[in-house]
């Protein structure tokens, strides 16, 4: 296998950023590292989904949080859980793995439902429609309190997944004094990344994948060659939405609860930052982007302490979002292809 210059620099940078965790923290490094790797896995998976939209097909999706949220909510509502202020308990439900398949499929179908009319829109209009759809999703989740628990959220659903926890996860966690539930979610999300990447690698090299890239480059040419460009875009939209749904499930199980505030616009912007950092259009880019991004996020406490004495939660969060905003701007201005992307493959102008 040929290893590119860009790839090796990216790997080195990733290793360097992980070693920063050990340099900057005096205690609990292992715990911090695995915490950030868990989030990196979950968000990396979401960024891979977004990359199918934007990187492969050139669809400007700013409603990623809604796809993640839909996958998570459908899955959780199908398994035993407790919802709402009163914690109304639902004891019956499907097994986790069937529920998660239905969850992922419904996220993909939501993609179809939204994409069916919206996919024909020009790029910047699609951005507005998707961000508005995500906001409608959020408002509905908050409003339908009897089902989704609204602002009180849903709890007590973790066991459906955690009962399948494998023995080596337990051993590993107890050896390093980690939370086995989180390590199990991390293991599953990184496994999913691996499977999804293998799948995407095959897909992008297939005629279908080449047709998708052609849609991004010149839709009219694709039409002229007798391909159904709209249907190709829709398929890509569904595929990316499904991947996002899966990552949403892992995000929910990592927290152990879901509320309205779990799937907010800021989540979408995080995933965008990761995708741009990793490299738009690159399959493996989002993984490295995600790890580096979460190293930065997990060290914001230190940065906040530099600015404010005894920074409180709100200040730390503020510093974090300021950094994410800066990261998005600086990358988009100076290096829109990120770490691994190819500049000639970027869609940067409205067609």
């Amino acid at each position: 296998m040929k290893i590119s210059m860009r790839g090796s620099i990216t790997v080195l940078l990733t290793i360097f950023s992980i070693s920063l965790v050990f340099l900057l923290n005096d205690e609990g490094e292992i715990r911090i590292l695995f915490n950030l790797l868990t989030f990196a896995g979950i968000y990396g998976l979401a960024a891979i989904g977004l990359n199918v939209h934007f990187g492969l097909t050139g669809l400007l999706n700013f409603g990623h949080a809604a796809f993640m949220g839909l996958g998570a909510y459908v899955t959780i509502l199908l398994i035993p859980h407790a919802a709402g202020r009163e914690g109304e308990v639902v004891t019956t439900g499907l097994p986790f793995f069937i529920a998660v398949i239905i969850g992922v499929v419904s996220a993909a179908l939501f993609g179809l439902l939204l994409g069916l009319p919206a996919i024909r829109l020009r790029g910047d209009y699609l951005a507005i429609v998707t961000i508005a759809a995500a906001e409608i999703f959020r408002l509905l989740v908050r409003d339908l309190e009897s089902v989704t628990g609204g602002v009180y959220g849903i709890i007590n659903f973790s066991n459906s997944l955690q009962q399948y926890r494998l023995g080596f996860i337990e051993n590993f966690s107890s050896a390093y004094d980690l939370n086995p539930a989180q390590i199990w979610v991390a293991f599953l999300s990184w496994t999913s990344i691996f499977i999804v990447l293998l799948l995407l690698k095959r897909l992008t090299r297939s005629p279908w994948g080449r047709a998708l890239k052609a849609v991004r480059e010149d839709e009219d040419a694709v039409r002229a060659l007798g391909k159904n460009a709209v249907w190709l875009k829709l398929q890509s939209f569904m595929l990316g939405a499904g991947i996002a749904g899966l990552s949403g499930v892992f995000l929910a199980f990592n927290y152990g609860t879901v509320q309205v505030s779990t799937f907010v616009p800021i989540l979408t912007f995080y995933v965008w930052a990761i995708m741009i950092l990793g490299g738009v259009g690159s399959l493996t880019g989002p993984i490295f982007g995600s790890i580096m991004f979460w190293v930065i996020i997990s060290e914001t406490n230190g940065i906040a302490e530099l600015i404010f004495e005894n920074a409180d939660g709100q200040q730390i969060a503020g510093v974090r979002f300021v950094l994410v905003g800066l990261l998005i701007m600086i990358l988009m201005i100076f290096r829109p292809s990120g770490l691994m992307g190819k500049k000639e493959e970027l869609l940067l102008d409205v067609k």
Partner: protein, 305 residues
Amino acid sequence: MIEQFGNGLLLGIIISVASVALSLLYGVTRIVNFAHGEIIALGAIVTLFFSSPIDSRVLFLDRFSPLGNNFYLSIFFAIIFCGLFGGILELFLFRPLRKAEVGNIAVLVVTIGLSLFLRHIYLLFATGKPQNFPLELQRRETYLFFDMTPRNFRVLIAGLGVMVLIGLFLNYTKIGKAMRAVRDSNDLASVSGINSDNIILFTWVSSSMLAGLAGIFQATINDIRYNMGFLILLLIFAGTVLGGIGTSFGAMIGGLLIGIIVQVSVALPFMEGHTEAKNAVALAIMILILLFRPQGIFGEKERVS
């Protein structure tokens, strides 16, 4: 219903002013500015900074509060400040991007980053909790059919006045005509001797001043929050889209309509007990408009797909 209509007019005038600003900017520069909400918040925050009493602890920087309680002077300076800020954004961020021929989508993503950045700068350094302007409380009075406080009524009148001024400005002044020329065709405008760089700079300044004014309206009617602009940004998009992206007159009407729709929808029978979801109605309308009539109510037909 009537009461909701009055509230709708107030929300509508905020959205309307902000939509005109967004629409002007989009028309001339083709930038979908997601940081528009942050300029709105800037107007309110700077007004608060200038007008809050020295001894209050409302702001991180309040101890320097230069103007004390002179509210109208504060508004004036805040609007100027917003205009300067917009000009700085154009000169040091968007003009270099345009000269480097960075694509529209890249610029859109940059404005999203900018929005995130500015919004949390406000959170950190200006206002973590909702604040109010140092104004006394007022009782509602009846104007025609609507109950509102005298101050809010004045906001409404001022907003309508600003609309008329913008309309006159765009139609009858040289620079307004030049703006419309650049909007219709940048190349043709350049050929006829219009310096499009200057026009774009002017558009940034005036759009930001209008956005700041919208923020001051919003803060007067409701309150000042670091994310106040972001909260109504989607409604502003809805107003702009409803009237027709890039048309100023359309954006005025579209903004007013969206405000009224949002507030009146609370009184609809099927919305009973779902008041929190009122924005969803307006956003759904926006999506439908984009799907079936992307040029908006007043926009001219062009091939947009």
